[in-house]
């Protein structure tokens, strides 16, 4: 234990306190992941009842499937656009709220609300919002018929997903980034003003460098979150369509595993996705983590 015995005199108390969460995380995260890695080397029968060791065959099959590469491409694209937007938009909002623009006090509170909404609910709401006939863009369609139709146009469907994702992720990132901005001593901003830097220059030279730890945190979380949480949105808004245009890897894994009963293929893709995540996170730490070390 990291904490000394002064804090927890009873040896088992910390373990007892952590146990419920640890059990949950183990049962619903680690165990399935290990299982997926294990299954990725076996050919599983769809309804159970025996399996056969096939070595790297599953990987060979998955990696030669063009659909896998398409879904991976879409995933990376979604990760890049959705996660950067889901950090950029809250960043702009947080800077505005920090500068105490008009209405920033109510906005600061209201912006946090979406955090309490489940991904599937967000998806459901947005499938109405983006409905080409009754949604907010319906008037646009009556002016320019067919300009917006996510159920036929893959690009529109993709945009719907990104907007829904960004909206759902504004609160957390907003809170983190605003807290970071608030933690900057007011006199440092004033010093910037005295040094002749205008508001934009101060944001660039002083505020952004000083919230690097928060930006880094939100980006790291966002990169993984954007890929995993997309499932609920896809399932409720686009069902992976139209024509597979919004079938990201997480959704493809679900379809392969639970609709097509290709358990081995789904497990293999899960394993690949896990490895990819680990690589991305490591890369982020190596590349970005270096630039954020300073003492206040």
């Amino acid at each position: 234990m990291f904490l000394g015995s002064t804090m927890f005199r009873h040896r088992w108390l910390p373990i007892f306190l952590v146990a419920p969460l640890a059990v949950l995380v183990f049962l619903f995260f680690y165990a399935p992941v290990f299982q997926a890695f294990y299954w990725s080397f076996f050919l599983e029968r769809p309804f159970g009842g025996g399996s056969e060791y096939v070595g790297w065959d599953n990987f060979a099959r998955v990696l030669s499937d063009p659909e896998f590469w398409k879904a991976s491409g879409r995933t990376v694209l979604f990760m890049a656009t959705a996660s950067s937007l889901a950090v950029l938009v809250p960043l702009i909002l947080a800077i505005a709220a920090d500068r105490a623009v008009r209405m920033s006090l109510p906005a600061r509170n209201i912006l946090v609300w979406p955090k309490g909404i489940a991904g599937a609910s967000i998806g459901l709401v947005f499938s109405f919002v983006f409905n080409p006939f009754v949604g907010v863009l319906a008037p646009l369609n009556s002016l320019f018929p067919g300009i917006w139709n996510p159920s036929f146009d893959g690009f529109d469907a993709y945009i719907s997903l990104i907007v829904a994702h960004v909206w759902g992720n504004i609160p957390f990132n907003f809170v983190i980034l605003l807290a970071g901005l608030r933690a900057i001593p007011h006199t440092i901003i004033q010093a910037g003003a005295m040094d002749g830097a205008g508001p934009w220059r101060r944001i660039l030279d002083v505020q952004l460098p000083l919230i690097m730890p928060q930006l880094f945190l939100t980006l790291v979380l966002e990169f993984t979150e954007s890929v995993t949480s997309a499932f609920a949105l896809i399932d409720t808004i686009t069902k992976g369509g139209p024509g597979g245009a919004t079938t990201l890897l997480v959704y493809k894994i679900y379809l392969d595993g639970f609709s097509s009963y290709d358990l081995s293929g789904a497990s293999t893709q899960t394993a690949i996705l896990m490895v990819f995540f680990i690589l991305v996170a490591t890369l982020q730490f190596v590349l970005l983590g270096r630039h954020i070390n300073y003492e206040r």
Binding site: P185, G192, M194, D195, G196, G198
Partner: protein, 371 residues
């Protein structure tokens, strides 16, 4: 020190506040100020917390807007200008260094914003770092510096632009006593060399007395007195100033004049005096004379003694009012429980009983020749 010192040239500007007011909502922080800080002068603004001194400084800097009135730098109106257009620099209480920049970057940031080329910036940083003894620390970040070093960086950052107006917001309050003393002397020296019009806010009277050409004493946003340290000490304009300056501060006792003598509230006679009315009588602790023996003068039961080695501070009660007496250096006062003291008339200050303002006819050497 040497030739490079001359490389910092400032064109000092006078600062004039013309009927400046400041209100936050309905709270009137500064009712109305009309003062001038002369060009090249070192002014200390002194006052208790909440007297409006920091607000005043921020308005001069351009970090706070004036509610009404004008601010003029060298005759030019600046109250509507941004800080960067005013040409003044500021040293903050908590240093406010940029934690992600090195010492050199911190000091040269304003030059960078102003568009100066890198070689020029480096040359200037070298000069200023030399003046402040920071040459070895240019590549460090503020987090790796001591409090005193950070303070120097903050000062360096302020003077590197050769500002005509230099503002300090309680810059020494985060330093320990020894460092505060050293930095105070360095600041005085720096001011002599640079010559910028300097406004220095503090609540420390020692800083005010030692640094200032003139001291502005603020109370609830209004000027109590604006004069040289000597005049402030020897001719306080009000009870507020009298109590604020001096350590321990001036003793203040209620007194009454009946036209022939001046009496304390319990009837004891202080001395002969021609004016009638209610007064507040002030006497500095070092001016109270302890009579040898216990006879004559005013009765002063001793409550407390503090022996400081070089001298003692004796707390007594006179006419029910606590009075502190500072014994002369090397002087020994017997350890009695009661003393008899006199207030020499020439050392007395008289203030109006109601308003607390000094009475012009107030007598005594202290209130006339300023010595």
């Amino acid at each position: 020190m040497n030739a490079v010192d001359t490389a910092i040239h400032v064109a000092a500007k006078s600062i004039r506040l013309a009927d400046v007011t400041k209100a936050y909502g309905k709270v009137n922080v500064i009712p109305s100020l009309d003062i001038e800080f002369r060009s090249g002068e070192f002014t200390v603004i002194l006052g208790p917390s909440g007297c409006g001194k920091s607000t005043l400084l921020q308005m001069i800097a351009g970090l706070e807007r004036v509610t009404n009135g004008k601010i003029l730098f060298g005759g030019k109106e600046v109250q509507d200008l941004e800080p960067k257009q005013r040409g003044c620099a500021m040293v903050f209480q908590n240093y406010a260094l940029y934690p992600h920049m090195t010492v050199a970057e911190n000091m040269s940031y304003s030059l960078k914003v102003a568009g100066m080329t890198k070689p020029e910036r480096q040359a200037r940083v070298k000069i200023v770092a030399g003046m402040l003894g920071l040459g070895d620390y240019l590549d460090r970040k503020p987090g790796q510096l001591s409090g005193g070093q950070r303070q120097r960086v903050a000062i360096g950052r302020a003077i590197i632009r050769e500002p005509g107006v230099l503002l300090f917001d309680e810059p020494l309050s985060n330093l320990d006593a020894q460092l505060r003393h050293d930095t105070r002397i360095e600041l005085a020296d720096l001011h002599r060399r640079i010559g910028a019009t300097t406004v220095f806010v503090t609540h420390d009277q020692v800083e005010a007395m030692t640094l200032a050409d003139r001291i502005l004493i603020l109370n609830k946003g209004q000027v109590e007195q604006f004069d040289t340290p000597k005049a402030i000490y020897h001719r306080p304009a009000s009870v507020f100033v009298a109590k604020f300056i001096g350590s321990p501060p001036m003793n203040i006792l209620p007194a009454q004049g009946d036209g022939s003598v001046l009496r304390l509230s319990d009837g004891q006679v202080v001395g002969e005096y021609g004016l009638k009315g209610d007064f507040q009588l002030g006497i500095r602790p070092e001016n109270v004379v302890v009579e040898q023996g216990m006879s004559g003068g005013l009765a002063a039961p001793v409550r407390f003694r503090e022996d400081l080695g070089s001298h003692s501070i004796i707390s007594v009660d006179i006419a029910g009012t606590p009075v502190r007496i500072a014994t002369p250096f090397g002087g020994v006062v017997p350890d009695y429980t009661r003393l008899a003291v006199t207030f020499p008339m020439k050392a007395l200050h008289l203030f109006d009983g109601q308003t607390g303002k000094a009475i012009p006819e107030g007598f005594g050497v202290a209130s006339k020749d300023g010595k």
